[in-house]
């Protein structure tokens, strides 16, 4: 039988405690135990980025972190970022630019984009493309995503001035 460990996390600001199988990765934990199905699993070997979430403020691959490793840490998912309004401008830009089609990569893509927006506010178009290179989108061809991120880079820069 699976070895389970009591695990407590702060997920989207809410404390949750579960007995978690050691082998369960964070994405499955969020999806199956908490019903937070916004983070997707599409490869489970760390390549596609669809499972990207934030742990203690840094983006990570949800499929490459065990839920038990996240014990005691703060996890933010797309649902949390949506409800807090933190990425409302980014979501709006994605919507306006049609920077998503099937939407399966979108939560992870938004996580990666928000990470860039906060860590490299002066990023160039090329740097946007580089930063998003860990997230596979099979639908858009990326250009609309890059355009949307550039829009928000610009609007946030203007907002700060």
């Amino acid at each position: 039988m699976d070895d389970t460990l009591p695990t407590t996390l702060i997920v989207n600001g809410e404390r949750v405690t579960r007995n978690v199988a050691a082998r369960q990765h964070l994405s499955d934990f969020l999806r199956d135990e908490l019903g937070l199905t916004g983070s997707h699993t599409a490869c489970e070997h760390g390549v596609c980025g669809a499972c990207t979430v934030r742990v203690d403020g840094a983006i990570v691959r949800g499929c490459l972190m065990l839920a038990v490793q996240a014990n005691g840490r703060k996890v933010d998912t797309i649902e949390g970022l949506s409800d807090s309004g933190e990425i409302a401008d980014l979501q709006e830009a994605f919507h306006r630019r049609n920077a998503l089609q099937c939407g399966f990569c979108t939560p992870g893509m938004l996580m990666a984009a928000q990470d860039l927006l906060t860590s490299q506010p002066e990023a160039t178009r090329e740097e946007v493309r580089e930063h998003l290179s860990g997230n596979l989108c099979r639908c858009t061809g990326y250009q609309a995503i890059v355009d949307a991120v550039e829009d928000v880079l610009g609007s946030r820069r203007r907002g700060r001035k």
């Binding site: 050691a22 840094a58 490459l64 014990n71 860990g134």
Partner: protein, 284 residues
């Protein structure tokens, strides 16, 4: 695919780690950042009985400069290396190399020690460590020992680590006066493992190259220090003839086994091109 079942422990001290490793032997695996280990478990490529997470062991994280050495703790993440002013100042080779490691989400979690201990032949740090003649600090239950990077990588995913030992840090000599570094790799897509790469470090004075350390990645089971190529350069300006001689020498020292997308001939050709470009950049 889901990982096979295993147990998990997160000891709070080195002695706790050693105890578990001793008790479980080769059925235990050390979990650092887990960016390669968890992927391989999800693919069911291995089935350990226990993962020993070393995240809570104190003293394994951070970059410190002491005298002429830069010490990088095993749990230091790629992201910390990327952002470290000490690395930028003293280890420009590593600073260039880290930009080629995967993507932001993986750089946030993946560790220096994990990369070294896994010893993927296409990884960046092992080649840098060989080029810079770094030393790894290996801790065991009884004692610590130091192994030069050049002796650490033994074969494909094989290292000098003994059962029950843990790699806790790397020690790099600070880049000396007059030395320059160039890291170049060819990857099909940004962040991919390299088809071929070179970590080059040499003294460049008066237009001449000396003490060149040319470590190649992805051309063998381990990083390869191209000593014959370096000998062909010693004390010379990197003019066309010298570069050609160094490139020619690579044929004798790079095994360059074929992979999915490149034959031995292609790999060797690309290694030569990279060497030429690295020498050009060193001399610039």
């Amino acid at each position: 695919m889901k990982a096979p079942s295993f147990s998990y422990a997160r000891p709070g001290s080195l002695s706790g780690v050693f105890e578990l490793l001793e008790r479980h032997g080769d059925r235990a695996r050390v979990l650092a950042g887990g960016q390669s280990l968890l992927a391989s478990l999800n693919l069911r490529l291995s089935a350990p009985e226990l993962l020993v997470d070393i995240a809570c062991v104190p003293g394994l994280t951070g970059i410190t400069v002491a005298g002429d050495k830069v010490r990088i703790g095993a749990l230091t993440t790629h992201r910390q290396i990327e952002r470290s002013p000490e690395v930028a100042r003293h280890l420009p080779l590593l600073a260039q190399a880290v930009r080629n490691v995967a993507c932001a989400a993986i750089r946030n979690v993946g560790t220096f020690g994990g990369s070294i201990a896994l010893a993927d032949p296409a990884a960046e740090y092992p080649a840098c460590a060989v080029a810079l003649d770094a030393t790894f600090v290996l801790a065991g239950r009884a004692a610590e020992r130091r192994v030069r990077a050049r002796e650490f990588f033994r074969g494909l995913y094989e290292t000098a680590l003994r059962p029950g030992e843990l790699l806790i840090a790397g020690e790099f000599p600070v880049s000396g006066d007059g030395y320059r570094s160039v890291f170049l790799e060819l990857a099909r897509r940004r962040g991919d493992y390299a088809m071929v790469g070179i970590a080059a470090h040499a003294r460049t004075a008066g237009g001449r190259i000396s003490d060149a350390r040319l470590a190649f990645l992805a051309v063998s089971g381990t990083p390869v220090l191209a000593v014959r190529a370096a000998a062909a350069l010693e004390g010379r300006p990197p003019d066309a003839r010298t570069v050609a001689a160094a490139q020619a020498a690579l044929g004798d020292e790079l095994e360059a086994p074929a992979d999915l997308y490149a034959s031995r001939a292609t790999k060797l050709h690309l290694a030569r091109v990279l060497l030429g470009r690295a020498l050009g950049a060193l001399a610039r």
